[in-house]
Every structure is written in C-alpha cells, then in structure tokens.
Symmetry: C2
Subunit: 159 residues, 2 copies
DNA sequence: ACTGGTGATGTTATAACATAACAAGATGCC
DNA sequence: GGCATCTTGTTATGTTATAACATCACCAGT
C-alpha cells in the first residue's frame, strides 16, 4: 500500500508554508486554542525548511527577533505545536520538525537524511507496529518510528 | 507473523543474566574485543532489570563500586555495549537497556511500559519499515522503533 | 470598576544528558 | 627497549530540558 510522503520531493514551498499556517490557524479557531505570535512564529521558523531544529536553534531565532530569550519560551511554543499536531518531535535528533500532513491522523514515520538533514514524514498504517508487537499483549499508546539513511537526492550524490 | 518477545514475561532471571553475560564474553572473544571489568560491570548493571537506565544512573552505580566517577567512563562503556549489540539505546528515554536477544539480527522494536518502566524487545521483520516507506526512494540505514504504552501486567492493575 | 479565573509569557535557577580534548596506564608485538 | 594500539582517568564544557514562581492580558460575573 502506498502512503503519502512529503519532505524530499520538490514542491511549491511557499504554498506549502502558507497552507500549513492556514491549517494551524483554522484548527486553533475550531478548538479554541490560541495561535499567539510566538507560537505562530515558531511554526513559521520550522516551516522554513523540511529540517528538524533544536529547541535552542529556534530560541536563537526568537531572540534575534525580540520574541523571547529563555529556554522555556521555546519549549512551551514547541510543546504547544506538538500537542496540536502542527509539529513533531524527532527523538533521534532531540529536535522538532513542522508537520507536513496537518490535519491527518497522527503517528507518522519519519525518514531522516543523514547527509542533507531533511526529514520527511510518512503516514503509517496503524498495523505497522501491531504486526511486530501485537501478540505480546502490550497496549500501544504512542509510537516512535524513525529511519535514518539517505534521501533520493543524496543517494545520487554518493553514487 | 509472531516474533520473539522478551522482557515482560516471567522467566528465570538469573539464567537470563548469566546467558547474556556468557554470550557477550563469547562474542568478544570471537571478535577480539576486550570485555574489560568496567564494560562487564555495566552490562551486569543493565541486566539486573529489564528497564532502561540513564547513563548517570549507571555512573552512580559505578562510582559506589569504585569503577569510575566521570561521565565519559559510563558513556564509553555504554557505547561499547551498544556497538557490540549487547545493549540498546532507547531514544525516547535517553537511556540504555540490556539486549535480550544477544546474537540475533539487530534492529529491534521496543515496548516501553509507562507504568512499571520495563522495556521489552521484539525482533521485527526487516520489512516493517520498508512497507511504510519503501516507495519513497529513501534508503534506510538504521531504524528507531519504539512504542510506549502498558505492559500486560500493568493493564490488569488499571482494569 | 473590582474580583477572580484562566491561560500565556517572563525569569531565575538548575537538572539531566553528552562529548571534546588531553594525560596516563596497559598490552602486545617487533 | 621502543613503538603502536587500545583503554581508562580527568578536566572542562557543551547541549538539552524543566521546575518553580512572578507577571500580564483577557474575559466573565457582579
């Protein structure tokens, strides 16, 4: 079964950013969550690239822009975005990436390119893990599925 | 397809420890790697429970035993054990767990119980991730597959 | 307008995790 | 002995993350 994958393929990035922001704004309105300037700006920063940024990278940006200078400011905004499903935490990198499937069901798999550091997101069938684990009686609440390797573009560079 | 799962089920833990140590010793002998006292002791510490320990937890134990007191001592030993496949790093927890399938092919999935903090390990079919990701052209080199939830015993406690 | 609740932000301080860089010892080989 | 290699010891620092408390902005009820 093919899955929607985003992050590596060339695309209209401006509209990619715009639609993600729009989706976040709409979702916040629906849920009564506040899409404040710091939260919005942090999402914009993540959206600039399909790469994972550390909390302190984000914080540095906020600081130059006068939006906050202490770690909790960045961690709170990132925590909010993750809670709302607008961003994801990449455990392998201790870093955060904007969600490229806003609105979709969420417990995605990530592909992390070790060369260009882009991160792509793939929807997974809910069964991906239950196939491996299901017969153990363990009840899954959250999953972390991350693969590290080379994206298509970087494979060519190494060929 | 069922997979070997270990960590939650009751078992003879003494022999579990013993066989893991034996396997590590044999593997080192074969590979010409040195199974030094610190490395052995760290593996023993991890083997005491099927739980993930932070590097500093391990270090604290080493310190009380006079085997080293500075972070690099613990990180080096843990790094060695992971390299050799005698232990695994659990990204979600920034912690380390003894391997329960020593010798087997290795890129396992982990189940982390949020109640009792035990960690079980399941062999995964190599296809688990390629099913989700395969058609993207991404070449996988390493994977992180971790599920958080409740182990069978802890589910009963909550019922 | 005042009061009090709620949620967001500001700030201090510190906890927790990790490694770079260099010194010193152990081992084995020639 | 002299050299190479691997391991361990140590200092110092870098990186990631959160607890705790103060303040502010907003809104609803009176």
């Amino acid at each position: 079964m093919p899955h929607k994958i985003s992050g590596f393929a060339p695309h209209d990035h401006t509209s990619c950013i715009h639609s993600a922001l729009q989706a976040a704004e709409n979702a916040c309105a629906e849920r009564g969550a506040q899409f404040t300037p710091v939260r919005r700006r942090v999402l914009e920063i993540l959206l600039e690239s399909h790469r994972a940024l550390g909390a302190y990278d984000v914080l540095a940006r906020l600081t130059t822009e006068g939006l906050g200078s202490k770690p909790p400011v960045a961690y709170r905004a990132l925590g909010f975005l993750v809670e709302q499903g607008f961003a994801h935490r990449i455990e392998r990198l201790n870093a955060f990436v904007a969600c490229t499937h806003p609105g979709a069901t969420h417990d995605p798999a990530f592909m992390i390119c070790r060369a260009c550091h882009k991160v792509a997101e793939a929807e997974t069938a809910p069964s991906v893990l239950t196939d491996a684990i299901g017969d153990s009686g363990f009840s899954i609440e959250q999953t972390v599925i991350e693969a590290e390797g080379l994206c298509p573009a970087c494979q060519e560079g190494h060929a």
